[in-house]
């Protein structure tokens, strides 16, 4: 069962497709969108009227208003700053619109244009201070927040009752506030248009690239020739204008200048911005992220109010969700590439047959061969490096050793051993002939024949240099010098020839002339031994015993 599941998982799960999808840039927004879907689903389950057209239209209306401010804030955050004064600007522009309309009695188009210009001026104050005079964004907008809010408080002290007593009933104003086009609120339509333009602006037009570049690295942008100060200032102006648009729609919808208009709005908009995934460091962000964040915040706030939650619970829930979403989003951003690389690897599944048994007695092809387990050991610790063993006619075991001895072991136990002959070198292969002569191939020396009875070492050719070991009959006292030192005994030794050529690893070709005792390097005679006399006398003056 598990095997079937594993096979299905590896054969049919679309790893590659998933990897492709996850690599797309728009999946950066994955977590906020998932959160939005979860919140929307939860609300539609717990509130009966959530998905009704009227309720959706109403949510869209509110989302449009806050969405405009979110666009402005997103723009400012992408360029690397922050705008904390949006709440106060919202209140002031709301007041401006209602003052012009109710108290001064201007026509609606004039009110709209004048309010937007006023919003732009408010934003320009921020822009000049932050863009041109290069003050810090946080503290500057905090100060303008206070200044604008105080201005608002002073103004409504004077004029709020005049505005409150007015009940303007102008059709165009009512349309801005409450109007629908095919069921879609007017705010939402304008917001969609502005959002589409904003998206194209940020991603396809040069000023948008400039903004993202400045947000990414101000110094590099400056070095590239982007007009940094002007762009930053214009971003704050844009934030002011967008806030004033939101203020206009709000004024048309509710027509009020209460004392708490816009208080705490900057926190909500910042929450929406961060929730949507626009990092406060700057350089990354999009319109969609801003919209998703605004929608999530709005749905949670309205949903909780509609579920009869008491006031404090609303803020608490929002804060908790923001915390959780921010944590998950940060993890997602950091680990996205790692997750992609893990998902992308798409191994297929191949079921191996069951492995054959190696146990003894089962008879499988890989059965452990223990045939030699119960053998008796011959010469353990007593002989070193026996390259070959051989048995003679009488079952005596002969083996060479690295000391140059031929050692034999006697039956039946092969415990008694004696040195049969000492030749020197490294005895390699051995063979017997019909006359019981033992032929030994000695590495570095040649082919030797040992007669069974007289232990005299012979060679089939007289060796006339001091290398000859044949002088030592049965004695192990003296050891031969090897003129030619074979470091590598693995070379095959063709002893039956006068010249034994070999090719070394380095590509050199050496030749040893056994007869004449020369050592030759490819055409060159390196070492020649004039050894007739030495061989007659032997190394230590003893007469040679070679035949």
């Amino acid at each position: 069962m598990r095997e079937t599941l594993t096979r299905l998982r590896y054969r049919y799960w679309p790893d590659h497709l998933l990897g492709e999808i996850l690599s797309k840039r728009w999946t950066e927004t994955a977590i906020p969108v998932i959160l939005l879907l979860i919140v929307g689903f939860a609300l539609s389950q717990s509130l009966e009227h959530f998905l009704s057209p009227a309720s959706l239209a109403d949510t869209a209306r509110q989302a449009g208003e806050i969405g405009f401010i979110g666009l402005g804030m997103g723009l400012v955050v992408i360029v690397g700053g922050i705008d904390l004064s949006v709440g106060s600007m919202f209140a002031l522009t709301d007041f401006c619109a209602l003052y012009l309309l109710d108290v001064l009695g201007w026509p609606v188009p004039a009110v709209i244009i004048a309010t937007m210009v006023f919003g732009g001026l408010l934003g320009a104050v921020n822009g000049i201070l932050i863009g041109y005079l290069r003050l810090r964004a946080f503290i500057t907008t905090l100060i303008t927040l206070i200044i604008y809010r105080s201005a608002f408080d002073l103004l409504i002290q004077r004029y709020s009752n005049a505005i409150a007593s007015a009940f303007p009933d102008i059709p165009s104003w009512n349309f801005i506030g409450d109007g629908n086009v095919f069921g879609i609120p007017s705010v939402a339509l304008v917001y969609i248009a502005v959002a589409i333009f904003g998206h194209i602006f940020l991603t396809r037009l040069r000023p948008g690239w400039h903004i993202t570049a400045i947000g990414g690295s101000r110094r590099s942008a400056y070095n590239s020739g982007i007009p940094v100060r002007r762009t930053i200032a214009l971003c704050y102006v844009a934030s002011g204008v967008l806030t004033s648009v939101a203020g206009l729609f709000f004024a048309a919808r509710l027509g009020t200048v209460g004392g708490d208009i816009g208080v705490g709005l900057e926190v909500i908009v910042l929450t929406a911005t961060v929730l949507g995934g626009i990092t406060l460091g700057g350089g990354k962000g999009s319109v969609v992220k801003s919209l998703v964040g605004v929608l999530v915040v709005l749905l949670i706030t309205n949903g909780l109010t509609a579920m009869n939650a008491r006031g404090g619970a609303n803020r608490m829930a929002l804060a908790t969700i923001l915390l959780a979403a921010a944590m998950i989003d940060i993890r997602w951003q950091k680990n996205r590439t790692r997750i992609i690389s893990k998902v992308y690897v798409a191994p297929t599944y191949h079921a191996l047959p069951p492995s054959p048994s190696t146990e003894i007695g089962k008879g499988g092809p890989f059965e452990q061969n223990d045939k030699l387990r119960d053998v008796s050991l011959i010469g353990l610790g007593m002989i070193e490096a026996p390259e070959d063993v051989i048995l003679d006619r009488n079952d005596v075991l002969y083996a060479g050793s690295r000391h140059g001895d031929i050692i034999r072991f006697f039956p039946p136990n092969y415990e008694r051993m004696e040195v049969f002959a000492h030749i020197g070198g490294q005895p390699l292969g051995m063979a017997f002939d019909r006359q019981d002569n033992l032929y030994v191939c000695i590495g570095g020396m040649g082919l030797y024949r040992i007669k069974p009875d007289d232990f005299l070492l012979r060679s089939d050719r007289p060796l006339r240099d001091g290398r000859v070991a044949g002088r030592w009959a049965g004695s192990t006292r003296q050891r031969p010098h090897h003129l030619l030192r074979h470091q590598d005994r693995r070379h095959a030794y063709r002893a039956a020839r006068a010249q034994i050529p070999e090719r070394r690893r380095s590509g050199q070709r050496w030749a040893v002339d056994i007869v004449r005792g020369d050592l030759r390097l490819f055409g060159q005679t390196l070492l020649v031994r004039r050894t007739e006399e030495r061989s007659r006398r032997g190394r230590d003056g003893q007469p040679a015993g070679i035949s």
Binding site: E48, H49, S52, A54, S55, D58, Q62, D153, I156, Q157, S160, N161, I163, A164, S165, F167, G177, D178, L254, G255, T256, V257, G258, G259, D260, I261, G264, T301, N302, T305, A306, N308, A309, R310, G311, G312, N314
Partner: protein, 338 residues
């Protein structure tokens, strides 16, 4: 003849015995035909309550009073609590309109915000009862205090206490365009117009917030240590005003007139210990009962929402040191919740 008499006498005797043997029943009961439609009109209906905020005496008292009167008839209650946020309140009212409860009880944060929304609500068939703080739109019923009268009474009290003193007074307003604040200010101005010798040294809005009221009063007292009276617009906020007066050591020298719901802890106790000198109460339990009565009337009448409109201004109870101890001047929230 005798046979008839005997027959009559016998039947009368039988009837008499029969009637004596049977228990005394006067007559059958008359079924009241109006109960059933009334119960049907109320059962299962939803009343949505949108206060400015919960968790203070006024709104809790109204809610408790309404529940006590209406829940036995099967009325369902829903609260939408915007917690002092005007925007959230507007949002709540808007979403309620699409949910279509039978009745909405609205406590307006200011005269403008909900005006159009309430108009829309009544057009869609929802009865709208506005409590205490009204809006620019007059709906099916308004139950509340007469703010102009409150302002006049407060100012008269202050002026009387200021006789022979510096004649400087301060006004601590609530939220600027709230009905309670704006209308009360009109009442104050009415009386001040008749007393040109009184000087208003400060008239600021504290947004119903006790901390803000305290801060404003502290500044005013520092600037005018010889202040003789303060007109505060809500006792819940004027706790802060009284605290500032006490800190300056001027309790008793500055006449603090305020208004409120008349709850024992918030009104009578504070008048008794000297924090307030005059608290004009609009008596929350009475208002709640009036609201409940209006709802019962409206629901059982079947009238089209918006076709019949009326107002119910509640009688004011001025609380001073003389009657702060009486049982009837104030009410307890715990009693109302039982």
């Amino acid at each position: 003849m005798v046979r008839v008499h005997r027959f009559a006498f016998g039947s009368i005797a039988a009837l008499t015995f029969a009637s004596v043997a049977v228990p005394a029943l006067a007559q059958q009961g008359l079924d009241e035909p109006f109960q059933k439609p009334f119960r049907e009109a109320l059962a299962g209906k939803t009343v949505a309550y949108v206060p400015v905020a919960m968790n203070f005496d006024l709104t809790e008292g109204w809610y408790a009073g309404l529940k006590k009167e209406l829940e036995p008839y099967g009325v369902k209650f829903e609260i939408r609590d915007p917690n002092w946020n005007t925007n959230a309140g507007a949002q709540a009212v808007t979403s309620l309109i699409s949910e279509k409860p039978a009745v909405m009880v609205i406590h307006n944060p200011d005269v403008q915000t909900y005006a159009k929304l309430l108009q829309r609500a009544e057009n869609e068939g929802i009865y709208v009862i506005q409590i205490n703080m009204g809006s620019a739109y007059r709906s099916s019923a308004f139950v509340g205090a007469n703010w102009i009268e409150i302002g006049e009474r407060q100012t008269e009290g202050v002026i009387k206490a200021c006789e022979g003193k510096s004649n400087k007074i301060a006004i601590i307003q609530g939220a600027l365009s709230a009905a309670a604040s704006a209308y009360t200010l009109k009442g104050v101005e009415n009386v001040l117009a008749k007393h040109p010798e009184i000087k208003v040294v400060s008239s600021q809005a504290a947004d119903w917030d006790a901390a803000k009221a305290k801060a404003i009063t502290q500044t005013v007292l520092k600037q005018n240590p010889d202040l003789c009276g303060i007109v505060g617009f809500w006792d819940g906020m004027d706790i802060g005003t009284a605290a500032a007066v006490k800190e300056a050591g001027l309790t008793g020298k500055v006449f603090l007139a305020t208004s409120g719901g008349g709850e024992r802890k918030g009104a009578c106790e504070l008048v008794k210990n000297g924090s307030f000198d005059l608290d004009v109460s609009y008596d929350v339990p009475t208002q709640a009962a009036q609201m409940a009565g209006t709802i019962k009337w409206l629901l059982s009448s079947g009238a089209k929402p918006g076709s019949v409109k009326g107002s119910e201004y509640t009688t004011l109870i001025p609380i001073t040191k003389e009657n702060a101890d009486s049982q009837t001047a104030c009410w307890n929230l715990s009693d109302l919740k039982k």
